[in-house]
Point group: C2
C-alpha cells in the first residue's frame, strides 16, 4: 500500500473547493443549523466518471446527470437534501435544469458543466427558488476548508458525516483522493448507494477513470444493503482535475490508483452500512469457495439482506440457521451438504456449522462475539474459487421508528 | 361460485381424521397446553400433490417428501413444530425416515405412505424419541373433530390457527375441501409458505391434482411475503381420497374444483400474511397494465416486500414514493412516465400519483385509509394486459422483537 490517510474529504485534493448553506428545502419555516445545499467545485477542468441507480423510477437529477456525463465537461456538483426530485415527471427535469443553469451562471461556467443531485422525500416538487437561494449562499462560502460542511449538507437520516481522504505516491509524484457520501436508508444499491463523491488532483484519462470507478462500485456500494430498497437517486461521481500536475500513466500507477479508489469506495460503503437507519451493528459477510464470483456475490448479499438474520444480530442471537437459509434462497449454486459457517468479531471467532451440519458451540462466547459493533459472518463452500464480501447492518426497533414516520 | 364455506378444516372432507399431542420438542422441561405434533390421516387410499421450497438448504423432510411424492402412495402426514430438521445433514434424513417408518407401523400402512414435515429452529437435531412419543399419543387421539388441534399443533410464532373448509357442488354430487396452514415469519415463498395442507373427499386424478395445486400455489403462496426470507421447509400438500364417491371428471368440474383450490390457497395466503410476525396490517398489492403477467408479479411482490413501504404502513404514512421506488427496482419492464397509484381500504380510496407525477391529496383521508387493518395498494401502468396481486404485511417493532430473540 502506497497510500496513507490524510485530513479532510472532497476538498483535500488540490483545486477542489466546496460550500454549503441552509435553504429550508424540507421545512422552510424551521431555520436549522444543518445546511441542505452543497456545492463542490473544481477550480480547473476535470475528467469525470459516474455511476447511477438502475431503478427505473430514477430521479430527474439522475436522468440529467447521464446527459451531462456524456458531454464530459462537468466541473461542479450541486447537491440538495430534503427533496429527492423523483417521481416529479417533466417538471422535475425542468427544475433540475434550472438549478444546473443557475449554478453554471453563478460559477461562470458554460453549458453542461454542473451535475445536480437531490436526496430526500420522493414525489414532491423541488422548491427551486429555495434551492437557488441556498446555492447562491453556498457558492459565496466556497473554500478548501468547507468540504466537511458539504458532507454535512448532504445528510438526511444519516447520523454521522461520511468523508475520507488519502495521499498516494505515484511514479510522477504525490496525488490526493478525497470522498464524501450520504446514505442510511433505501440502501440496496444496484449501482451505488444514494450519493457519493470522490475527488482527486491526479490527472486520469476519462475512460480509465470510468473503468476504475465502475469496478470499485461493483465490489463496494453494490455489495451493501441496509433495507433491500434500491433508491431512485443513487449516484456516485469521481472527478479528477489533475491539479497536482501528476498523471496516472504507468500500469503500476493505474493499479495503485485503482486500488485507492476501491479502498475509498469500500471505506464509504462501510460507513454507510454502519450508519444504516437504526443500526447498532456493522455486518460483514464473506462468502468463499463458490463455483463463481457471481455465486459468491449472490450468497454474501442475500445473507447481508436477510431481515431474519439482521433481527437476530440485533438480538445478539447466533441464529446461524437463518444465515444458511439465506444462502440457500440466494439463487446461487450452493451445495448445502458441504458448507461451513463462522461468526467472528474482535471478541473472538467460533464455528457454528461444519459440513452442512450444526455444531454445538459455546453460546456465551457467541453472545460475546455478537455484542461487538463490527461483526463478521464467514460462510465457506467447497465448490470452487468464487469469493465475495457484502456489508449490511442489523434490523432494529429504530429502523421501524425512523421509517414509520419519515415523510410527515 | 358453486362452493360455500362450512365448519372445520382438514378433517371436514369425509374420511380424513387428525390428532395432536404435546411432545416437548422445543422445550421438554416446560409442559405446555399447546400440542407440537400433529397427524393427518386418510382412512382410504388418496392421490396426493405437493409443492416444496426451492431453497437449496432445504430441510430433511422436504428431501424425503419429494421421494415419497414420487411413489404416489401417501395417505398420512406427520407434522412437528419446534424443530425444522434443516441443516442437519444425513442424520436429519435418517431422523425423518425414523419418524416416517414409525408412523407407518403405528397406522398399519406400508412403506412410503407417510409424509413428514417439520417447522421451527434450523440446525438442531430433531429429538426423534420425543417426536415419536408425541406421535403415538396423537395417533391415539385421532378423530374427525381433531382437525383444529392439528392446526394448533403446527403453529410456531403464529398467533392464530389458520383453517378453512368448503363444500362444492360438482356434476356428480357434493365434495368438500379443507385446509390448514402455518406461517408467520421466514415467509417469502419460492413455492409455498412454510406448511399448508389441503384435503378433499373428491376423487381427482394425480396429474390433474398436481396441476391444480401448482397453479393455485403460483398465484397465492408464491405471491406472499412477510420478510423476504424463503424458508427451508416450505411445503404444501393436497390429498384427495375420493371418499365422497364423487369424481372430478368433466371440464366444468375441473374448472370448478380448481377455482376452489385457488380460493382456499388464497384464503390461507391472506391469513398467513395477516398473521405475519408482528404485523398490524394485511397489505394487498395489485399491479395492472404491465407488458406481461411476469412483470406484474415482479412489481406486486417487490412493493409487498419493501421494508421501507412496510414501515410506512406501520406508521400510517402515505409514503407512496416508496411504492414507486419498489416498482422501479423490481426488475420488471415499467414505464415510470405513465403510472398511477392508489391507496384504498374500507375507509375509502385516494389517488396519490397520476401519469408518473405526485398528486396533492387529502392527508387526513390517507391516514384514515391506512388506519384500517386491510389495505390495498393499486399501481396501474399502461403498457399491456399483465396483472398480478401480492400479499404482505407491515414491518413493526414486534417483528424485530420476535426475531431478535426467537431461537434462545
Amino acid at each position: 500500500m502506497n497510500y496513507r490517510p490524510i485530513e479532510g474529504g472532497v476538498t483535500a485534493p488540490i483545486g477542489f473547493i466546496a460550500g454549503a448553506a441552509w435553504a429550508g428545502i424540507k421545512n422552510p419555516d424551521k431555520k436549522s443549523e444543518k445546511p441542505d445545499v452543497a456545492v463542490l467545485y473544481s477550480e480547473s477542468a476535470c475528467t469525470s466518471a459516474a455511476c447511477f441507480t438502475r431503478n427505473k423510477f430514477c430521479a430527474a437529477p439522475v436522468l440529467l446527470g447521464r446527459e451531462i456525463l456524456k458531454k464530459g465537461k462537468a466541473r461542479a456538483i450541486v447537491i440538495n437534501s430534503g427533496n429527492a426530485n423523483a417521481a416529479t415527471g417533466e417538471q422535475g427535469i425542468q427544475d433540475a435544469r434550472a438549478v444546473e443553469r443557475t449554478a453554471e451562471k453563478l460559477l461562470g461556467l458554460g453549458e453542461d458543466q454542473v451535475f445536480v443531485c437531490s436526496t430526500g422525500v420522493i414525489g414532491k416538487r423541488l422548491p427551486v427558488e429555495r434551492v437557488i437561494r441556498g446555492l447562491e449562499c453556498a457558492i459565496c462560502r466556497m473554500s478548501p476548508e468547507k468540504g466537511t460542511d458539504a458532507a454535512w449538507a448532504i445528510m438526511t437520516t444519516d447520523t454521522v458525516k461520511k468523508e475520507a481522504a488519502y495521499e498516494l505516491t505515484l511514479s510522477g509524484g504525490v496525488v490526493r483522493v478525497g470522498a464524501m457520501a450520504k446514505g442510511s436508508g433505501m440502501i440496496h444499491p444496484n449501482m451505488a448507494t444514494m450519493l457519493a463523491y470522490v475527488t482527486t488532483d491526479a490527472a486520469v484519462e476519462q475512460a480509465e477513470l470510468q473503468k476504475m470507478l465502475s469496478r470499485a462500485v461493483d465490489i463496494s456500494f453494490n455489495m451493501t444493503t441496509v433495507d433491500g430498497d434500491t433508491s431512485t437517486n443513487d449516484s456516485i461521481f469521481l472527478l479528477a482535475n489533475g491539479a497536482s500536475g501528476v498523471a496516472v500513466k504507468t500500469e503500476a500507477d493505474k493499479a495503485a490508483f485503482a486500488a485507492l479508489v476501491e479502498h475509498i469506495c469500500l471505506d464509504m460503503t462501510k460507513r454507510i452500512a454502519s450508519d444504516g437507519e437504526g443500526a447498532t451493528h456493522l455486518i460483514e459477510v464473506q462468502a468463499h469457495g463458490l463455483p463463481t464470483e457471481h455465486d459468491a456475490r449472490l450468497v454474501a448479499k442475500s445473507i447481508a439482506g436477510s431481515s431474519l438474520f439482521k433481527a437476530a444480530v440485533f438480538g445478539k442471537d447466533a441464529n446461524w440457521g437463518r444465515i444458511m437459509a439465506a444462502a440457500g434462497y440466494s439463487g446461487a449454486d450452493v451445495d448445502p451438504t458441504n458448507a461451513d459457517c463462522y461468526l467472528a468479531s474482535a471478541a473472538g471467532k467460533i464455528q457454528v456449522m461444519k459440513g452442512g451440519f450444526g455444531l454445538d458451540f459455546d453460546e456465551a462466547l457467541a453472545k460475546k462475539i455478537l455484542s461487538e459493533h463490527d461483526i463478521t459472518v464467514i460462510v465457506r463452500f467447497y465448490q470452487g474459487q468464487g469469493g465475495a464480501t457484502a456489508w449490511g447492518c442489523d434490523l432494529t426497533y429504530d429502523y421501524v421508528k425512523i421509517n414509520g414516520d419519515y415523510r410527515t
